[in-house]
């Protein structure tokens, strides 16, 4: 049972464009929503995260938009660069001592030069 649904599976964006990846969750007890970025041959690394008490969080060119009522959140990459080409995973967790994350299925982003 997929508790966090992610789309699209793959995405091609021109350099300078906006990349948008969407996720939807089912469990209303989730209270932490991170995005992880994974380059080929590397493990995922935390990119940006949000809690449900805010609707948006921005860090540089990366923004998370959060819609609590719709149970959806999305990652926006502004001015996408070839160096952003990677696989992106959304995730969600309930804030317990274990930080047990439920991951989406991933989006492979390719930013063309």
């Amino acid at each position: 049972q997929q508790q966090v649904k992610q789309s699209p599976q793959s995405l091609i964006v021109q350099k300078g464009g906006i990349s948008i990846i969407n996720c939807a969750y089912e469990n209303t007890a989730f209270d932490y929503f991170p995005w992880y970025q994974q380059f080929p041959g590397k493990g995922p690394a935390l990119l940006i995260a949000i809690r449900p008490d805010v609707s948006e969080k921005k860090e540089g060119r990366f923004t998370i938009s959060f819609n609590k009522s719709a149970k959806q959140f999305s990652l926006h990459i502004m001015d996408s660069q070839p160096g952003d080409s990677a696989t992106y995973f959304c995730a969600a967790s309930i804030n317990t001592g274990f930080q047990k994350l439920v991951f989406g299925t991933g989006t492979r982003l390719l930013v063309s030069p």
């Binding site: 599976q9 932490y32 991170p34 590397k42 995922p44 804030n95 994350l101 991933g106």
Partner: protein, 116 residues
């Protein structure tokens, strides 16, 4: 910087073999995790551990076991490897509550296991 290392980047084993995947973290983290990553399925949690000798099943524990004899080391064991366990295996750890990066999981580079 937190460093999570995994014993092998690539591993090829035969069906029925017992396989050990080792993970070591150098930041005194209490929580450690094993995931498998498959295309189209994302990362799925196999087991996690919140202390030495403590373990909890994740979402897909069947066919796997784990061992945590020391705080820094978390091992994943495939008792009798099967072809459907061919996958990328990722280890992660995260710091205890009260630290600034408490919510962050730090991943190793992964072990790509092929079972023939």
């Amino acid at each position: 910087d937190v460093k999570v290392t995994q014993s092998s980047r690539y591993l090829v084993k035969r069906t029925g073999e017992k396989v050990f995947l080792e993970c070591v973290q150098d930041m005194d983290h209490e929580n450690m995790f094993w995931y498998r990553q498959d295309p189209g399925l994302g990362l799925r949690l196999i087991y996690f551990s919140y202390d030495v000798k403590m373990k909890e099943k994740g979402d897909i524990p069947e066919g796997y076991s784990v061992s945590r004899e020391k705080k820094e080391r978390f091992s994943l064991i495939l008792e009798s490897a099967s072809t459907n366990q061919t996958s990328m295996y990722l280890c992660a750890s995260n710091p205890p509550p009260g630290t600034s990066s408490y919510n962050e999981q730090f991943f190793g580079p992964g072990t790509r296991l092929t079972v023939l």
